[in-house]
Symmetry: D2
Subunit: 348 residues, 4 copies
């Protein structure tokens, strides 16, 4: 039984992780740490966990380094960077939910920070070279050996999984990859303010940060490390009145000699050892992955315009956050990748 500590336990990301760990056969909750509500039982804030997790919330000062085998930092940007060195020196592996450890190059981090409206400084930039981008479908080996795992952004993971095979096989001919994303509201977290109150959010679709979303840099960083030619992503995020779910629609030009069958076969082969990536023959809907750690992909060719259309769906709080983090944690301890993550979800 490995003992895990969660810092930032009371946000949507933290709570999702706790729900998963409670079901996991090989992980046990050691400490749950948050800034607010210290000393309250977690189930007081989240009554659905009554009897499942009545553990009290602790303060960061109470962190017991000795009794912890793994730390999840479900904290906002620029928190983890100030906590990481001690864990690193003690060789306690850390999985961080923010953008702090998603970039090897400080120049990429700076763009990320700028797009998020944050100061560009990074207080642990020397450690960036020791981090790994926490995408198990690509960096399994590195994750197993790493002490600092940057869990990807929710939009980014859906985009990257949709693009990886095409990029590595060099199928895409366009310089610009167009992606329209639609996300649910939970992605904005519990502090997202007035604009996400029920009356303002129901019956509303909007776009935002067109071409400037912070997850863009992540995708370009990964894609371009694997591509024969530098690609740019034009990403247009939209917000829709659902709680969970991300639907990405990607449009690219592709090499003229390719057929849908060949591309599909390649994708199937590429992901044949990745239990959470599902290739669907039908058009996707987000509730087919709600509550699961899956990413479903669909490929189509529009013959009239000769474009390849790749769609992907994930649950932003699962494969887009806590589920993927737990998948990483399984790898860190050489557990089966799907351990504690492979339950049929609940519908409708």
């Amino acid at each position: 039984m490995k003992k895990v500590t969660i810092i930032g336990a009371t946000g949507f990301g933290g709570i999702g992780l706790i729900e998963l760990i409670l079901r996991h056969p090989n992980f046990a909750l050691n400490q749950i740490i948050a800034q607010k509500d210290v000393a309250k039982p977690l189930s007081h804030l989240y009554p659905h966990l009554k009897g499942f997790c009545d553990k009290r919330i602790e303060s960061l000062n109470d962190l017991d380094y000795k009794s912890t085998d793994l730390v999840f930092m479900s904290t906002p940007d620029q928190v983890g960077m100030n906590l990481i060195s001690k864990f690193y020196n003690l060789k306690i592996p850390v999985i961080d939910f923010s953008g702090d450890f998603r970039f090897k190059k400080i120049s990429d981090y700076k763009i990320y920070a700028k797009n998020k409206g944050m100061k560009p400084g990074h207080s642990s930039k020397d450690l960036l070279k020791n981090t790994v981008y926490g995408l198990p479908e690509k960096y399994k080996k590195q994750i197993k050996k790493s002490l600092i795992i940057g869990n990807p952004g929710c939009f980014a993971i859906g985009m990257i999984l949709a693009l990886l095979p095409a990029i590595e096989a060099d199928f895409i001919t366009s310089d610009t990859i167009i992606c329209n994303g639609i996300t649910g509201v939970s992605g904005a977290g519990k502090n997202s303010g007035e604009k996400n109150l029920y009356p303002q959010r129901y019956e509303n679709i909007n776009s935002y940060k067109e071409g400037k979303h912070q997850h863009l840099v992540e995708v370009e960083q990964i894609i371009n490390s694997l591509s024969s030619k530098t690609k740019k992503i034009l990403f247009i995020p939209h917000l829709a009145p659902i709680s969970r779910g991300i639907f990405n629609t990607i449009i690219v030009d592709f090499k003229p000699n390719l057929t849908l069958k060949r591309i599909t076969d390649y994708y199937r082969d590429y992901y044949k050892n990745d239990p959470f990536v599902i290739l669907s023959q039908e058009s996707l809907d987000s509730n087919s992955v709600r509550g699961s750690n899956r990413c479903a992909l669909n490929l189509k060719i529009d013959k009239r315009t000769k474009k390849l259309i790749i769609t992907s769906v994930i649950d932003n709080l699962m494969k887009g956050q806590a589920g993927n983090a737990l998948q990483n944690a399984n790898l860190v301890f050489d557990f089966e990748e799907t351990l504690g993550l492979n339950n049929p979800p609940v519908y409708p």
Copy 2:
């Protein structure tokens, strides 16, 4: 491993049951039977189950009696009554989701049928004496020995669990018990028609069947079998734009010498061996039980008007249907009552 067959597998009730059985350590799906979509893999209709249940839907004619240890009939009213005798003769236990086997007395069934707008005839009325009302919190012993279990109505189970201790302790002095219920739309099933389309249902609250809902008879049947004095329920159901959840608000007069503490203590003691009944000190919300098999109860006394207010919440597709049915199934085979049912739910 016990093999279960589900008849009526493709409605919300059937699918909920399948999701649960797939997670259950001691039950395996034997056959999934439905009228429509025969020969299609279940995951074609419900893509969230791809890889979890790709079993093909079979027709009732294909039912293999020999290989079945237990049958769930997730079928509409007046289907099970025509299928039951063969199972009964073969001593295969059956858990039925409709009203067919909820009543010992044919006179009660007739009222139920009338309130639902159905013909009052019952084609297996001789078997009614051998049925048990599938409420584990009250009839555990009988359920363990019975071959025909009538799984309760969703509204009924929330009301009965809220009332049982007060009725048995004879706390309630009013002849009429007032209950306002609010239910989600999934309770109406997949054939509920135009009035439940998204545009007609979002932003809408309505009442219906005021004083005439079919679950009323169930509650009165159970309550009055335990009460010192005949009670009537005035039940007013409302429909709200949520998918899952039932919120019942019950108002009664109570014996003047009772305190909230004494009533609460009695409830706590009454349910001390019932893992799915949760007593909450706070006002309830339906999403604290969403996705779980729990029924949460709250007790309050309004000092100004000297009324006892009992609220209960359940997930209508879990404790109100498939979850409770599986709890019954656990009892039939002497498994731990909570087996396969005690996972922390997913929020938000």
Copy 3:
């Protein structure tokens, strides 16, 4: 053309009022005043009003008393009480949306304030005797002559309209009137915080302030001023995931000699001159009044339990707030009561 000024113009109540005034033939917007966003055009905050109201938000200090024929104070509790005296002395009529002027007796106000968790002091208590409860269906004459109109609480108006005829005709025999209310989220306003974010509110029904909601005192104050015998209300509010709408379900005992026909006839006659009160023969749904200033009522007798069931629905931002306020304003200037308020609403 009468010139109106709105203080607290940028909340849901203020904006609703502005939408109505923009359509009104006899009222013109004079000043729109708020604490935040001063100097911004209103349409910057509410883009649906671009071209309809690009007027800039002004600060309270900019209030031009001379150019104002009428003031709406769409402000929180305990703001209006500090502003009222100057308007009163200048004989400018004021319609206030808070509880500040809903009570003639300071003792009633104190209970209201306590139930809302506020300090019980009232800084203009000498003016209370000059106020009128802004319920046009009952106090039309007084409203026409009054300078201080306390616009009723949203839950209260639905309850009072449901009860008035029965109370005045002395139909009700129970001492306690039971009311279950279900409200939409917009009633909580734009500052209602984290618990009303989309992810926490969708799929959720909860009860709150059982027996202690602040609107209770309003209802009892009005009802008991008209009743032969003091009544108490047991009011249990619930919150459901809709933006607009209040559904009240009232249950009482009634004089045994009464028939549904007689009660209905009496209600119809009572409201024959009230264009916004609609008697429906069918069970109600909240979206039949969404966007309108109507209150729909339905009466039923449950023969089994001999109870009278009265249901009412309103749009909480219209008849429950801005619409009713405008109806009061029409009366103040002797305009037709329905002026600017009688448009068919938009569905679905």
Copy 4:
């Protein structure tokens, strides 16, 4: 006062039209005709119209040609084509909501019909040359003189208004115009079946008919009649859980010498006489046009990828259907284009 008759009055399109006509100063409802519910008062089906429209539904056989100045056919595809000739011969202008009269060329109609899964035959193809595409912003003059107006498809109108200026000014250099659309559920109408029930639709985003939506042909027909070079549209529609609203996101390459300012100025000038087209400097949200006849547009240039991003929002039941139809009707009778259509909408 012009007398209008609505055929197909009880769908979402018909009811939206009735709501608008009831507010219109120069139109009066003559007959409301539908297949089902004949002889029932309309307000029986739509209680929000009680007192506004209690007129009884009539059968097509009851149509009184003499008393009708204008006919709206809010009917499904391939109904209007069988009714048109008599109206045409009697010189009664018709505005049809289906695709029957949106195409001048039978070859375009055949593609439309194929994409919708219908038979390609058109029973009034000789009349197609006399039709006009009912887009007031482009074909005002022709609409004023035409007897057969094909009201555009909802997705099409949002796309065309977003593209018209750029096409006519020849700003766009790409051969393929990429458009991602997100629509609300009401667009699917009242017969859209099980998949749009509340439980299946809430919390769900899906794509459908990728590259094959029937509105595509409409857009290409109009665009290419005005373009210097043939363009193709790659249109990917998505469905989101809102009732009303369409959000289109269009991405194209543009001539390198153009600045955002120049494009914006051109758009502003192009639409300077079109009261319902609003140019917004901010990113769009669909609820800023909900309940209004507006189409809001936003233009952005992504400097990194050198793409022009054009977004448009409409209310699919207003500018996307009934509102636009009424705008056409105003033109037919030389009324002010905005008559009866220029009210501030209701929020939230």
